[in-house]
Symmetry: C2
Subunit: 222 residues, 2 copies
């Protein structure tokens, strides 16, 4: 007879996440976990970033969804290696799912592996996957109250991309409120204003990814 507590499940997940991270480091793969609400624009941001990055480094994607392979098909259409994980109803990816997916993937050694989590502003926050960094995509169409209302997601990331800023004019969106809530929950975190659709702000995200990857994997000449 076995008792499995939620705490033990999280501890077990953390153990696999650490193993994943060790594996990715050994293989020279920088890993970004992308999180956000359904429809925040996670896949669209990937579609915009991948062509820019792969000019100079290999890239690959693990897509997490409850059902369908629609997001993986969008990435595959760019000729980027991609594995779809269907969570069969689970509200987040976990480290074991990522481990299995990584085995099936053509690893982007010397480059970046993107993991797009299930669209959910709550559950994925608690599950480490073996990523180096997290990026939460928040869209202006979700409203300016979401950081305050979903604190764990924004406390456990290193960066936030405010997406669909091209639509902000058509909406009553108080960006200052979002920035203030983020300063409180994520002091020192990176903040990007982007539009995956128009391309606005993507250069900053790209530069950030290159620098974060470089400081972990590239030997310094000094």
């Amino acid at each position: 007879m076995k008792i499995v507590s939620a705490k033990k499940i999280l501890a077990g997940n953390d153990k696999i996440a650490r193993e994943n991270l060790e594996f990715f480091e050994k293989e020279g793969v920088f890993v970004l976990n992308i999180l956000g609400s359904p429809g925040a624009g996670k896949t669209s941001l990937l579609e915009a970033l991948l062509p820019r990055l792969r000019e100079s480094m290999p890239v690959a994607v693990i897509e997490g969804d409850l059902a369908t392979s629609q997001d993986a098909e969008r990435v595959a259409a760019l000729d980027v290696p991609v594995v779809q994980v269907n969570t069969e109803g689970a509200c987040h990816l976990d480290a074991a799912m990522v481990s299995s997916a990584a085995e099936a993937l053509d690893l982007p050694r010397g480059g970046i592996l993107f993991i797009e989590n299930v669209g959910n502003l709550v559950c994925p926050a608690g599950f480490r996957l073996g990523e180096h960094l997290r990026l939460v995509v928040l869209s202006v169409t979700e409203g300016d109250d979401k950081v305050a209302k979903y604190p764990p997601m924004f406390q456990k990331t290193q960066a936030v991309a405010l997406n669909k800023v091209d639509l902000a004019g058509a909406l009553e969106f108080d960006e200052e409120k979002v920035r203030k809530d983020l300063e409180r929950l994520l002091p020192g975190g990176r903040f990007f204003r982007v539009s995956a659709r128009t391309g606005l702000g993507l250069e900053e995200v790209e530069t950030w990814l290159r620098e974060e990857r470089a400081c972990r994997f590239e030997e310094t000449s000094g």
Copy 2:
């Protein structure tokens, strides 16, 4: 030593949900569980519907959030009785939370109690609260792929309100795709096109709520 399986938790929740429903029926309260992604417009839809409905019947609201009482404050500003439930990190309301909230609430006997769930297109689907009906709010800004990608949410509701249709023109949104996915997952379900902001389609939702309430609580003259 106790073992609590997920199945038992759901069964326990269902039992409390049945008790809640019996209580609401006895008190003459019609209950709608409102679900959807963060920022789909659940609170905005309530803000638009409540003033229309309360001209002829009492209304009240239970608000579910991880943190803050921002949504409850928006409802309270309309002079509508409201109780805020903070889930302390849980990704959905459960029947016990609703039971406690109902005790603290001035019950809208002869009217409608709205329960606004945590913004989440996954977890709340599995938890009955004691509601008569569910309404999932889906916004066009989330994209036209969400019904197919989050099937449990759309299989377990009775109605879907497509919100922010006034923005559909500015986006590439294939409403036909959404309708087809819904016909597959929710055959016979009600579908409303609304804009909480402009008021479009609210009359249909209002009429639906009045009729659904009436058929459960009002004596027929025949």
